[in-house]
């Protein structure tokens, strides 16, 4: 463990500890339709984060008292595997994952055309297999692709990433080390036209720094959107008349 009082340098020759520029995302890898039983699914890596998202539905709501007469409800379950973090995490939901699930659901719900499916539910399940700061944003990105893969009618995709502050500098997509010792973290999610559906912030920022962070995160979301869009096009552009497509796995790396 790095000593508390030792000042860690986060930059060397203008580059970050993993060699990235301040405004650079970690490498992204996406695969669509990775699960046989789910209606839609997506596996995504963002740096060392590995998440998998599955979508089931629209389907009947259980328990039935949850159903809404005018629209489908959306449920989102964010879950971390016990082995996904340094020290084993107790399995099952904790308070953090309840909050993450809530804000992630609210990040996706505005683009899902829920009024098409009254009295039903769209279930989104996100499993974090390996965590390295930014799992909620990776989960939202994967879930958004999985929703499209499941054929759920949506206004647009949602893309998500965070900006942070380390060593007084605003950086895009902080990794675990930067997040732990950083001064602030601002995860956002937005649609392709830049309307924000998720915004959280902890740490300490001035108004100007917040603006810089939002601008950076927005640029990151735009890059992620292009990747999400491309994997979906790659996956579905060579569908044959029978509605099935080749078993090629769409992959995109930056």
């Amino acid at each position: 463990m790095i000593g508390m009082d030792e000042k860690l340098s986060f930059f060397k020759d203008g580059l970050r500890l993993d060699g990235r520029l301040p405004d650079e995302l970690r490498p992204i890898k996406v695969e669509v339709g990775v699960l046989a039983r789910a209606d839609g699914s997506c596996y995504m890596e963002m740096g060392e984060n590995k998440v998998i998202a599955a979508v089931y539905g629209p389907r009947e709501v259980h328990p039935r008292h949850l159903q809404e007469v005018t629209r489908a409800i959306v449920r989102y379950r964010y879950n971390m595997a016990s082995f996904s973090v340094e020290e084993r995490k107790r399995p099952g939901p904790d308070r953090r994952s309840y909050e993450v699930s809530k804000v992630s659901r609210e990040a996706l719900e505005p683009v899902i055309l829920t009024s098409y499916f009254p009295r039903s539910v769209v279930d989104v399940f996100v499993e974090v297999l390996q965590a390295d700061a930014g799992t909620r944003t990776a989960g939202i990105n994967a879930a958004s692709v999985a929703l499209a893969d499941a054929g759920i009618p949506m206004r647009s995709l949602i893309s998500s990433c965070a900006a942070g502050k380390v060593d007084g500098e605003i950086v895009l997509d902080p990794m675990k080390l930067e997040d732990n010792f950083g001064e602030a973290d601002v995860p956002i999610a937005m649609n392709p036209s830049g309307e924000i559906t998720l915004l959280q912030m902890d740490g300490r920022l001035s108004k100007e720094e917040l603006q810089r962070a939002l601008e950076l995160a927005k640029a990151g979301c735009q890059q992620i959107y292009e990747i999400q869009r491309k994997v979906l096009i790659d996956r579905y552009s060579h569908m044959d008349d029978m509605g099935s497509c080749d078993e090629v796995v769409a992959e995109e790396e930056i």
Partner: protein, 259 residues
């Protein structure tokens, strides 16, 4: 079903008022309801505060006890924040363990206290690696008439500022006031149509598209934010809310939390 119909009618009514620049209770869009704050009402607690924000009533109690530190922060005290949405406070609250609304509320209150550095956790260390002070912040909602985030955050910091570390009780020296180094204040706005409305009541909350809570510190920086409710918000709107939030927070801090 009747709830859905009522909500539509209410939304329509509030929307038309909003177009005229009005709110149902006559407030300006950036105006808070009357705030009252009393501290030290609960003698059994180490710090307590009763906040009234209009008719919204929240009691916050702070208990401080020695306990074990987390293994990764052996020389730091611990803050544990919990919120109880007890069924006496609203027809829509049910008994049982906290739901996601309660958990979110507690975590946003916690974020303000923690990220502002209001409590110097290292000063709460008794024996490194063995014994530290654990500060329990318990938010008890008594009457939910909207904007629980701001009422609870105000209650939490007020209770902490008046809290005593009960050292004598545990034979750890004399009691002393809990050192509080910053005063985070949460301000919440909802977006409804294109308008931004601060300190929403329950009706305004139920019809709003999005809600944004901004927590600011005494020096005017931002130490926490949380958007909730499904809905979009633009960057410009965020900056607008942050600007007004800083002003309102400053007023609240000066009026209620200046020592």
């Amino acid at each position: 079903m009747s709830d859905v119909v009522m909500a539509e009618i209410r939304k329509d009514y509030l929307y038309h008022l909003m177009l005229k620049g009005e709110r149902a209770d006559g407030r300006a869009f950036d105006e808070y309801r009357e705030i009252s704050l009393e501290t030290g009402l609960i003698r059994k607690a180490d710090g307590s505060a009763l906040v009234r924000l209009g008719k919204t009533t929240v009691m916050v109690g702070v208990k401080i006890q020695p306990g074990e530190p987390f293994s990764d922060t052996p020389n730091k005290g611990v803050i544990i924040t919990n919120a109880e949405l007890v069924p006496l406070a609203s027809p829509s609250f049910e008994p049982g363990p906290p739901n996601e609304v309660g958990i979110e509320l507690a975590r946003v209150v916690d974020r303000g206290v923690r990220e502002s550095g209001a409590i110097d956790l290292e000063s709460l260390c008794i024996t490194p690696g063995e014994k530290v002070w654990i500060v329990f912040i318990d938010v008890h909602i008594l009457d939910d008439c909207g904007n629980l985030m701001d009422a609870s955050s105000l209650g939490a910091i007020a209770a902490l500022m008046t809290a005593t570390v009960p050292a004598a009780q545990y034979a750890l020296g004399e009691d002393y006031p809990l050192p509080v180094k910053d005063v985070p204040v949460a301000t919440t706005a909802v977006e409804f149509g294109d308008s931004v409305i601060f300190d929403p009541d329950t009706d305004e909350e139920s019809v709003a598209d999005t809600k944004l809570t901004v927590i600011t510190t005494a020096d005017g920086s931002i130490c926490g934010m949380q958007k909730s409710r499904p809905g979009f918000i633009s960057q410009d709107q965020i900056y607008r809310i942050v600007d007004i939030a800083c002003e309102r927070a400053k007023e609240i801090r000066e009026k209620f939390l200046e020592v």
